[in-house]
């Protein structure tokens, strides 16, 4: 590790990167960079090529086209948190030995890393006795301990229940923050990306379709595909525009400008998720209890959402017959 990488310095850059697995192109024409001090989340649906891109950036897979520049050492914490059959402490020390850390420094650095991720109480436990969440915690400690210039984490919270994930996420948040290191986290869950990342890279079908701060992307998704991926599940035609909405954009309002019929109601922990059919589209929202029932006609208003010109759509979504009496949804940001 260089140890002196100044914040903002580019530590990893790929340009027009194409990666193949078994002669099949999995990642196409991706250009991105990672800077010291930032945490970037690589987000995408299953099969989008996230792990393949990570492998290529780490040097485990060759680039079929394009180039990758690495300034410093890259460490990857793979998805499977497999540990050696020793104590937790010995596992972290072993990782430091693989990394080439001098013997005299290993114990201290192992202790620091375990403490940073809230796993110091596990130090003397055998790996075989750890729960799934504890294994993930130790796996993270191992990656942090080596102090790489670029740290890549492949779905570090996969397979954990909500409570364990929330706890680990909280501890990881502070442990991963470093002014000298760039961190790339592959995540499947959007909530993890919002919690961790300064910047998102969204990969769909092997292509980088969006890049930017989470809040910015959520307020102004660059395309319909990205919006859909980010949870904009409602759609409404407004003249020559398509308005995509997330549940918080749709409010039940007796004085609202839009008439909607409840077509489905799915109970949630804190309310009911409603599917609403309108003359020009279909919206989704979450209503507190008591909620309207299926078949009921209600009034709603749309606050915000993402707008796209219908002309730019590859195929217009089929919509119910247009009704000129329906007022357009409200414009504006989230």
């Amino acid at each position: 590790m260089t140890g002196a990488a100044e914040a903002g310095r580019v530590l990893l850059r790929c340009e027009h990167l194409t990666v193949q697995r078994a002669k099949r192109t999995v990642v196409s024409d991706v250009s991105a960079e990672l800077r010291a001090g930032e945490i970037v989340a690589l987000l995408g649906p299953n099969g989008a090529g996230k792990s393949t891109l990570l492998d290529a950036l780490a040097g485990a897979l060759p680039a079929a086209e394009g180039r990758i520049e690495r300034h410093g050492r890259v460490a990857v914490a793979l998805q499977a948190p497999d540990l050696a059959r020793r104590t937790v402490f010995a596992n972290v020390v072993l990782a430091l030995a693989w990394w080439g850390v001098p013997r005299g420094e290993r114990a201290e650095r192992a202790r620091e890393a375990l403490s940073a991720i809230g796993a110091e109480h596990l130090a003397r436990r055998r790996a075989a006795t750890l729960s799934g969440g504890e294994r993930r915690r130790v796996h993270l400690a191992r990656a942090i301990a080596v102090r790489p210039d670029v740290l890549m984490l492949d779905e570090p919270f996969a397979g954990l229940d909500a409570e364990v994930r929330a706890n680990l996420l909280e501890d990881a948040l502070s442990a991963l923050r470093s002014t000298t290191r760039a961190t790339l986290v592959v995540v499947h869950d959007r909530a993890e990306a919002w919690a961790l990342a300064d910047r998102l890279l969204i990969l769909i079908d092997g292509r980088l379709v969006a890049s930017g701060p989470p809040r910015e992307l959520l307020e102004q998704p660059p395309s319909v595909v990205v919006a859909r991926f980010l949870g904009f599940d409602g759609s409404l035609e407004d003249g020559d525009e398509l308005v995509l909405t997330r549940p918080p954009h749709v409010a039940l309002d007796p004085a609202g400008p839009l008439a909607a019929r409840v077509t489905r109601a799915v109970p949630l922990e804190d309310g009911v998720r409603l599917e609403l059919e309108l003359d020009h589209g279909r919206l989704y929202t979450v209503s507190p209890l008591p909620a309207p029932r299926p078949g009921q006609t209600i009034r709603v208003r749309v606050d915000g959402g993402a707008r796209f010109a219908l002309a730019s759509m590859p195929a217009r979504p089929s919509s119910p017959a247009a009704s000129t009496s329906t007022p357009p949804p409200g414009r504006g940001g989230t």
């Binding site: 780490a58 990857v76 914490a77 998805q79 499977a80 497999d82 050696a84 693989w98 990394w99 080439g100």
Partner: protein
């Protein structure tokens, strides 16, 4: 049944009265078993690690060949070694036929496939994530090999037990290649064969009893080591 009982009664004093012939065979058998197993382990473990950890084309073919070679008939090994060591053959200049070295070589060759096949299988059965993680954190080949051996130690010890058992009890190859020379290069197994051929059944029974005892001691010793490696000791400790 009476005959067996009589032979056993005659055999027991031979064992406990320190028969010099028997003692020399025991000592030679121990040497052969340990040296042949050590040679097979030294050669076999690196081959097994190459097969188990390597990422090259033909790795599965190599592993299949290693598995198949476990079934190598000892008679065939003996015949091939004999033919290769005849005066005009490639190994003729080494003058191996009928020597003690021939016995060590034959038993090591027979033990080798067990070390290779069982160790490679044990290494291939390790969680792939652990080895991949070690590679991604920069582990050297040596570190990877040591990690794999340590993690797969139960399988590796099983391989050594199988090799040791072979080196102790296989007889055909050493009889053909070594010649089974009385009091010179006989192991307990080949000496049993020799005594049976000469109708000295009490001697054969005595030697067999010692052979079985030795197999039990050595293999059980390694078996205990294997159980300790699998964590039984740790569970006892944590239960205390």
């Amino acid at each position: 049944m009476r005959l067996i009982w009589e032979e056993l009664r005659a055999a027991v004093p031979m064992i406990f009265h320190g028969n010099p012939y028997l003692l020399s065979i025991i000592w030679f058998t121990v040497q052969v078993a340990l040296v042949a197993t050590a040679i097979a382990t030294l050669i076999g473990v690196p081959i097994a690690l190459t097969i188990g950890l390597g990422r090259f084309r033909g790795r599965n073919v190599l592993h299949a060949m290693a598995n198949a070679s476990v079934a190598l008939p000892p008679v065939l090994v003996g015949v091939v070694l004999f033919l290769l060591s005849e005066p005009q053959a490639p190994l003729g200049s080494l003058h191996l036929i009928g020597t003690r070295r021939a016995v060590f070589i034959a038993q090591a060759i027979l033990a080798l496939p067990y070390v290779v096949a069982f160790t490679a299988a044990a290494v291939q059965g390790l969680p792939p994530g652990l080895l991949a993680q070690a590679r991604s954190l920069g582990a050297s080949r040596r570190q990877l090999g040591l990690l794999a051996l340590r993690e797969a130690r139960i399988g590796v010890i099983a391989a050594v037990i199988a090799a040791l058992g072979t080196a102790l009890s296989e007889v055909a190859a050493i009889v053909i290649f070594g010649g089974n020379v009385y009091g010179y290069n006989q192991t307990l197994a080949s000496a049993t064969l020799y005594e049976v051929s000469g109708a000295h059944y009490a001697d054969a029974v005595a030697i067999s009893i010692v052979l079985i005892g030795m197999i039990l001691v050595l293999v059980c010793g390694l078996g205990l080591l294997q159980h300790q490696s699998s964590g039984i000791r740790m569970r006892f400790r944590s239960a205390a």
